[in-house]
């Protein structure tokens, strides 16, 4: 046992005797381990931000789009395939759709908002006050657009925090100011609290107005909506609400659910899809990192082979004076394990350090499992990459090794 313990110091001395080479070898493991940690952190960070942004869409909402899910619905005579106020009224009926809490018609466009010579391109959403609730927007100052604004085609808007900060100097109060959207002036009546940035789109770069005013002034569309935002009563009854919405729309359009000229998407399935794709993304990053760790492992093995060759004579001496095979084996194994473990530790610190910075717009989030994983792999790398060279050293015949020049 003491021989093996002594072996450890022998190994450390061996490593120290050629520190530059040892450092370069360790660098391979270091980069491998650090990239495992950083890439997994990027994967985790981006999947968290995707989840957050989907959650901020509203957790129990359905979105109804114009257009068939199967793409073509030829053969069926569609009399009215647009989403209009009749659809909203039908879906709002508590008799046919008991699990629907609210239905918000949505008209969207993208425009330049101008105030006092400053312009800012933003998405403009024409809807009703229920849209704000369904989309989890809260009003931080002023008021939200109201039912009477919709009825009166009032040119009033609630603006998102990005729009406010782009158009107005800090300290000035945007409430009551007139903003030019397209060729019309709208009055700011409310400020929306920031929903925070998300990986997908900036949900604070938004202007919300009564859909009637948007149709009148901006889109020129007469009666149709680009989508309907349906809020379910609870997330557990969302699938019930979805089938209710589909059958209501089918009967309204004199067609069957299967040939419905609309698509209904629920936010939960969107979340599931996004989560699974971000998991794939994380796994892909993990594999890329694993490849760089593999390269590091090859580096360790290479240098251990060189070391064994260089020290053939030393191995011969050790064997001649009585070192057993297992002693030589452990000496070189410990050496490669120390190299990869030190490289691994430095890699963990490097990985944690790099993960503190925002990379390509993604804030990396350290995955708790990545550190023990990377360290475990680093030590395994030491064992696996060190084993063959160590075994070769241990198997040398002392007379051959002693004769080696």
């Amino acid at each position: 046992m003491s021989a093996i313990f002594g072996n450890f110091f022998m190994a450390v001395r061996g490593i120290g005797s050629n520190w530059l080479r040892t450092f370069l070898t360790m660098l391979g493991v270091l980069i491998g381990v650090a990239s495992v940690i950083v890439l997994l952190a990027i994967g985790t960070g981006s999947s968290q931000s995707i989840e957050k942004s989907i959650q901020s869409l509203g957790s129990n909402t359905l979105t109804v789009f114009s257009g068939s899910r199967s793409g073509s619905s030829s053969g069926t005579q569609i009399r009215n395939s647009t989403l209009n106020i009749a659809s909203v009224t039908a879906l709002s009926s508590s008799v046919n759709d008991p699990d629907v809490k609210s239905v918000s018609p949505v008209v969207t466009t993208s425009l330049s908002a101008t105030y006092d010579g400053t312009s800012y391109t933003t998405s403009v959403i024409g809807s009703t006050s229920s849209y704000l609730t369904a989309e989890n927007y809260t009003v931080s100052a002023g008021r939200s657009i109201s039912h009477s604004d919709v009825v009166n085609h009032a040119q009033v808007i609630d603006i998102g925090s990005s729009v406010a900060s782009a158009l107005f100097a800090t300290g000035s109060d945007p409430l009551g100011k007139q903003v030019q959207l397209g060729s019309s002036d709208f009055t700011i009546v409310g400020l929306l609290a920031s929903k925070g940035s998300s990986g997908l789109s900036n949900e604070d770069a938004v202007v919300i107005a009564p859909y009637t005013a948007v149709q009148d002034q901006l889109t020129g569309e007469s009666q149709s909506f680009s989508e309907l935002l349906v809020q379910g009563k609870s997330s557990s009854t969302l699938s019930l609400a979805e089938s209710e919405v589909e059958s209501t729309l089918a009967s309204l359009n004199d067609t069957t659910v299967s040939s419905l000229p609309f698509t209904v998407i629920d936010s939960a399935s969107l979340l599931t899809a996004a989560t699974s794709s971000s998991k794939t993304f994380t796994a892909l990053l993990g594999w890329m990192a694993a490849v760089s760790l593999l390269v590091g492992a090859i580096g360790v093995m290479n240098i251990m082979l060189v070391t064994v060759t260089e020290r053939t004579r030393e191995i011969g001496i050790r064997k001649a004076i009585g070192a057993r095979k297992v002693i030589i084996l452990t000496q070189f194994l410990i050496e490669s394990m120390v190299i990869s473990f030190l490289g691994g530790i430095c890699g963990v610190f490097a990985g944690i350090l790099v993960s503190r910075f925002k990379i390509d717009g993604v804030k990396p989030v350290l995955a708790s499992y990545s550190i023990p994983l990377a360290l475990g792999v680093a030590i395994s790398v030491g064992i696996v990459a060190g084993f063959y060279p160590a075994y070769r050293a241990a198997s040398l015949r002392p007379i051959d090794a002693l004769r080696y020049e």
Binding site: S2, R313, E314, G316, I317, R318, I399
Partner: protein, 258 residues
């Protein structure tokens, strides 16, 4: 075999044959060597290159196993021992002194001396004590922490002797110990070996230098893988080695002695 008198010789070899395959041809490095060395003897094994003395030294040192024949080292039968057992035999029974010193350059003198004891499982304190005593005996107590690059050839070889001594082996096996030394260092080293011999140590030394062989109490001469002469030192002189090693004239006489 006039030397086989004690019941437990340190070396007891009978008909040792070692053959190698050189491509398709079988080469006999030793052709049936029988040798017995008693405790306390100082034997010089002489021979020219190709005489089989290196092969014999490898077999005596348990670095190699014979193709056939019997070999007992200090009563232990070497045939059929595995790698691990041979390591232990080398560690416990033999102290090696090589021509090229063979110290581990990354380790200080005292660490080199301690190494075989570490492999034998001797505790650290005891190890240090014995290493200090051994280095003191070879006159290097002021060079404990020097590395081999900081020591002269003679000093390195004395460290090697200290390393060979410290496990208290049954046999000290020296392979051309003065081969890399100047004549003054050689004389100093041989005085050291003579001192060990006087203390009752058993020493087998391979050499091709007659004046080095003179320090031994018995001289064995090899030629073509066989023993051609085996005499106590008193009956031989350096001049006669030269004759015997150089060729035939004395062969008949040697055969007669066998």
């Amino acid at each position: 075999m006039s030397h086989v008198t004690s019941p437990t010789p340190i070396i007891a070899m009978k008909d040792i044959v070692k053959s190698y395959m050189m491509g398709e041809v079988e080469v006999l490095a030793t052709r049936g060597i029988s040798l017995s060395v008693q405790k306390g003897e100082f034997v010089a094994i002489m021979g020219m290159s190709g005489s089989g003395k290196s092969t014999l030294m490898n077999i005596i040192g348990c670095l190699d196993v014979p193709t056939s024949g019997h070999y007992r080292l200090d009563g232990v039968n070497i045939r059929h021992l595995d790698d691990r057992a041979l390591s232990q035999i080398r560690n416990k029974k033999i102290g090696f002194v090589f021509q090229g010193f063979n110290l581990i350059s990354r380790m200080a003198a005292i660490q080199n001396v301690e190494l075989p004891m570490a492999y034998a499982g001797v505790r650290t304190k005891e190890r240090r004590k014995r290493a200090l005593a051994a280095l003191n005996m070879v006159g290097l107590s002021d060079r404990l922490d020097h590395f081999s690059s900081e020591l002269s050839g003679g000093q390195q070889q004395r460290v090697a002797i200290a390393r060979a001594m410290c496990t208290n082996p049954a046999l000290i096996l020296a392979d051309e110990p003065t081969g890399n030394l100047d004549s003054r260092s050689s004389a100093e080293l041989m005085t050291l070996f003579s001192g060990l011999h006087d203390q009752g140590r058993t020493i087998v030394m391979i050499t091709h230098e007659p004046d080095i062989a003179e320090y031994a109490s018995r001289v064995v001469i090899l030629r073509d893988g066989a023993i051609v002469s085996d005499k106590p030192q008193s009956s031989s002189r350096a001049v006669s080695y030269e004759l015997e090693m150089s060729g035939a004239p004395l062969l008949g006489q040697v055969r007669a002695q066998d």
